[in-house]
Symmetry: none
Subunit: 237 residues, 4 copies
């Protein structure tokens, strides 16, 4: 059984390494890593925080650890983010913005409806694997009854666009006769996420319960095929 967790993240960093503190030019890019660079410090803190929150949840994360990983002074965290929860909220917001942005970039509107859906299923699956923090952050946020997300305004704007994307695909599918009518795009969205998310978030207990390494390469490929099949059967006439 893969000890490591999500595929291709041997130490949980490989994939996420793109956003690692040691790499100045990265997802949260610190352009000029000079000693006094507010943006760079902020970015390093956010990056370190994302990892720490993902690994241990909001409650289990340690401010000291975040500061150390970010090579920043603890005081800076409070300077820029007010509190641990403020920091968490920012990290969470960013995580949502990131995934929604990536989804919208998929440009599914130009594809044949079935192809578009398959792409979405595949993207979702792969995104979760490449960004394992996203899942843990969302779980943590739900443990806290979404109190941080509630405060966020940006999220809602992004979410609407995302839902309407799926709505459009469904409508196009119905009009071309490949999809059946009456499918709720929200339910579909939830199901697309669910069949990937659940498998991955519960990979540890799942591997025990089913006595099978759920994170083995072939297992992951098989699951993706199964999920695509599930969704296509669900929407087909």
């Amino acid at each position: 059984m893969s000890q490591s967790g999500l595929v291709a993240t041997a130490d949980g960093q490989a994939v996420m390494g793109e956003v690692m503190d040691s790499t100045p030019a990265s997802a949260t890019p610190a352009k000029k890593p000079r000693i006094r660079d507010a943006e760079a410090t902020k970015a390093r803190i956010l990056d370190a925080a994302k990892k720490e929150f993902a690994k241990n949840g909001l409650g289990g994360a340690r401010v000291d650890v975040i500061a150390e990983k970010a090579r920043a002074n603890k005081r800076m965290i409070y300077h820029y983010f007010e509190s641990k929860e403020g920091l968490f909220q920012t990290v969470l917001e960013n995580a949502y913005v990131d995934i929604r942005t990536a989804e919208l970039k998929l440009n599914l509107d130009h594809l044949e409806p079935r192809e578009a859906l398959e792409r979405l299923v595949r993207f979702t699956w792969e995104y979760y694997q490449k960004n394992p923090e996203f899942i843990t952050l969302v779980n943590s946020e739900n443990l806290h009854r979404a109190k941080h997300l509630k405060k966020s305004e940006v999220i809602k704007v992004y979410s609407r666009k995302f839902v309407s994307m799926v709505t459009t695909i469904l409508e196009r599918g119905v009009s071309t006769g490949v999809f059946r009518q009456g499918i709720d795009p929200v339910q579909l969205n939830i199901t697309i996420a669910a069949i990937g998310y659940y498998y991955l978030t519960n990979r540890f207990t799942g591997s025990i319960v089913f006595e099978r390494d759920l994170m083995a390469k072939e297992a992951l490929e098989e699951r993706l095929r199964f999920n695509i099949d599930t969704i296509l059967r669900l929407v087909s006439v």
Copy 2:
């Protein structure tokens, strides 16, 4: 939007008592309070712990709070369960045994295959709602990479029976010609769980992202119908 979380659990406790079969006379109220009844004390601790762990996760749970809720001395927790983690492990084990036991009691073998699957989807959905702790406990355990479940031997025995139950249904369906061939029972199992679990565990963030009260009565009913439909379309020829 329902503030409370899972339906029908006003304080998150009302429903749960029903599954604490170890305590004969319901969850918290112990008839002869606190006087020298090892089993009762143990049961009260387990019950209180389940709630506290479910609410706050392993890391966020407070031993003092558990002791207080159980009307027991903190020392007793260590007397009976060695450590906070030992207590968590027992709670988790019990939770798994409970759900697996309930599933096996469904007696799906006597039903028509399609009917059997529908029952299973419905049962899973309803079980998660009535036992919201189960979901949170499992999430917490996965955050800790299943280190507690790994130690449990009972779990595996129960799990095998559970998988073979679905296998049998599928086989019967194939032989009567209502199900298609080649469906992996493990994948099916995961999917049945996923489409319910994900919806419920992410009900807080989901309600925000989709700007819809996912826990409203009609929403829940609609989701169940959608899920049954999803599974039946998945297995049908």
Copy 3:
């Protein structure tokens, strides 16, 4: 370096049993391990306590551990000895009675004075090695400013006999012309104890400071010769 501590007590128990004269039927081996035997239980508790106190000091000793080692209920300790300190006092008293009794049994009065002194030095040295608890108990008692020993009446009686024993030897030596006059028997007594006690109680730090295994067989033999020499030179004319 000998990990175990004092020589010849592999588990710190082998030898000690022999000198636990307070327990009629020896230390650990309870000949008739019947269920209800007050004396046997008491003896087992005292024996276990001696070891635990010796190992960890009064403060560091754990009542639970003593009860467990003695295969007795914790409540019995309080039944027979009132409190942890009461137990310690009894253990300490016994330890003193034991060594004083053994010393008086040496029958040094019949020996040539120089021979008698050598015997005493040798006995003291060997007793400390065979009964390492004695040293630790005394250290612990001194940390507590002898508050327990103060309460003991027996001790003083034994002590007087012991001092007078050395006084007699010295007097006989003076009268036969082998010892010089004016030697304070108390000072001599203290010195005889000191040169053995210090070496053994500080064997761990000593082995580091002097970069030498103080507990090696030859080292112990050499020290004994050195000590005998020291005392004889001290008293000789």
Copy 4:
């Protein structure tokens, strides 16, 4: 009988009182008390810890008490010393460095060999009296089998210098014909320490056993004379 213990230490602190917290102008004087002076805080903690460890041993010492005496926050102890044991190790290391440094400052090489030895015996005796913590710390460390001292590197360096000091004295004495040959400097060192250390560490039980106030002024003076005599007789031709 002096209740107090070591001479001139009415409450066990008088001599050590020079470094006590209640005395603002003292050995570790916190000129600007408590405001942002890392070195001063560290020093106050070390000082308070030395007293508390000396009084109660490692196990009996209370971190809260140390913090309070040091007028420092408990958290600071962990900030600077990692743990209670880390603090103990530092205290112990300092204690050894202190005595070894003082010994080397004696400049015994310029004295006549007999005079040099007498000075060393006297110094050792007086040092133990003025620094009663040293004895208790060493006792405590031996109870723990020197696990903390083992980790220390500095100690060994200091120790070697110390041993070679005595070696030199002995050699000089032999060459001038006042000392006999073949005396092991390590054994001599141990004996010099033993005859003072034992007397003082066991002053409480000793005063009871010998029914004599071992800490009375004249008793201490007499003991010193006795010890000098013991050592000189030991080494003389």
